[in-house]
Symmetry: C2
Subunit: 324 residues, 2 copies
């Protein structure tokens, strides 16, 4: 007799992640039971990864498991949240135990690292697709939204930008492995959700978003929701050594565009008052995360790029799965 | 310029359902913000419907929207929960506005009826697939689980069984429309989540499950989790007039199997102590829902079917998407 959906759930999913006394009952009934804390607000987000759209066929199962959870954690990070639990819906064309084992390993590693627990799931037949809904918490009124950016605020980003887009381009090429390829493909497959930085920014950031669709589009959401504009210092946008090497070797002059319009970096973009600058530098040091000031919020609507003394208005258009 | 994911979300999804003051912020940021009640426990469940697996290509968008939410509501009903909010992840091969409009109408109708609110979502490109994660509430310790069935308890089901399986068979046939076809296909496409009954059973039922994979398999989960067995009175299993008519016209002698092993009925199967029988009959009358006592819990493991004086042990095997 072949294994049923229930056997798969039991075998692979019941032990993923960690919980504490907020979990009354996890996987195994019609619904999980959770005892929420009245001092906290719940943050809820859902994201899907589809084969051929969000990851290529040759992507390793462990990386798919990792990334499916990482992109959801990134949404919680962008709100200043502490992750608590998640549910998983997994559509599979058939049961492949090696694939499931590796996929769950990728999920588990990240779930354990961030102390969150898989509390429920659905496993069904269909084209390979992974949907995760995640829940995090913040103390009431400490959540960071998109609509709080004020004129005069500085604009910051974590990490470096454009790496994941370069990694995606490298995945499509048959280029030999080299020093930068691995690092850039790793940034695509294993983005680091900035949970600790997001939590540390609760009392500092006026607005925050995670960069999933390119800096221009995602900063654009902050600008639109806050009713402001922004000037970016082109030379301040942080690039990795590997991206610069990749750009040089491939005579790529437009690598700035990878940061502005390329997807999948999952770094945070946030705004903060000038007076918070020192505290923000301290967060970067304490959390061992590069944080770079890249511009400022202005009252004129629109997004402007400043290079030397030239100011150019640029498009606010993020990556759109339906228009690619 | 074609419409982006953000335009679609704004146009179709922000107004679905109803919320009250527990919703701090809905669709539009990295995560929704919810203020949970400390007097209640949260019930969390996730379910996916895939084209070609859970519904056929000719299924109307309004029915797909309805059913995607109904199957999730049914999980909340089975725990005695009151539905509060849900998130939606929708994978679409392309943007079809008529389809989206109808899909959202199906969702909205059911969401409004049960006072729940769509608080977040993800819309992306991929083979047609709908994942909903739903959250409900019960007062702490009033949740109905699967593991509480006791020897001597009566076994009940709501509604009639086997209709959805017959509806599925009829969908695959090119038979002319007739009196029973519409009713049976309706049971397949528009199952009624038994929310009010589930809530009324909180203090009465010892165990409860919704019948998504056939009575035998789903009652089997109660038996396994409770460490007991069951005897079902074959003649007591409730069938609709339409199913009996369908069976007669198609000379179908095995329609009992449709109830035991056919999926998608989404009725409740629950157990309760003998002393609660009158109260349960009252719930059926007050909620205008047929509730039928179909057997009893016994100490011997296994599921037995009793007809006249014959007792036969039957297989506990639910519908399994990977083994069909």
């Amino acid at each position: 007799m072949s294994e049923s959906e229930f056997d798969i759930i039991r075998k692979y999913f019941t032990e993923i992640g960690k919980a504490s006394d907020w979990l009354v009952m996890g996987i195994g009934d019609d619904a999980a039971i959770i005892a929420p804390s009245s001092e906290h607000q719940l943050l809820i987000s859902i994201d899907t990864l589809n084969l051929g759209v969000h990851f290529p066929g040759q992507c390793a199962a462990i990386d798919i498991g990792y990334k499916a959870l990482a992109v959801n954690l990134s949404d919680i990070a962008a709100m200043g949240g502490e992750p608590k639990w998640f549910t998983l819906s997994l559509s599979l064309p058939s049961i492949d135990h090696n694939w499931l084992k590796d996929f769950c390993l990728g999920l588990s590693q990240l779930a354990s690292k961030h102390n969150l627990k898989l509390v429920g799931g659905d496993t069904t037949r269909g084209p390979l697709s992974i949907t995760i809904q995640i829940a995090g918490e913040t103390p009431a009124k400490e959540v960071i939204k998109r609509d709080g950016a004020k004129v005069g605020d500085s604009i910051y980003v974590t990490g470096t930008l454009g790496d994941a887009a370069a990694g995606l381009a490298l995945c499509a090429q048959n280029e030999d492995r080299n020093s930068y390829r691995e690092a850039l493909v790793d940034k695509l497959n294993k983005p680091i959700p900035r949970i600790a930085v997001g939590m540390a920014l609760r009392s500092l950031a006026t607005a925050c978003i995670d960069i999933s669709d390119g800096l221009a589009g995602d900063l654009g959401h902050i600008l639109e929701d806050s009713g402001v504009g922004a000037e970016l210092e082109q030379d301040a946008i942080p690039f990795s050594d590997e991206l610069l090497e990749y750009a040089e070797k491939n005579e790529l002059t437009s690598f700035l565009e990878l940061s502005l319009y390329g997807g999948d970096d999952y770094e945070l973009c946030f705004t903060a008052a000038e007076k918070s600058h020192e505290a923000i530098e301290k967060v970067g040091i304490e959390e061992d995360c590069k944080i770079t000031r890249i511009g400022k919020i202005i009252s004129d609507n629109g997004l402007y790029l400043v290079e030397d003394n030239d100011t150019t208005e640029i498009n606010i258009t993020g990556f759109d799965h339906f228009n690619t």
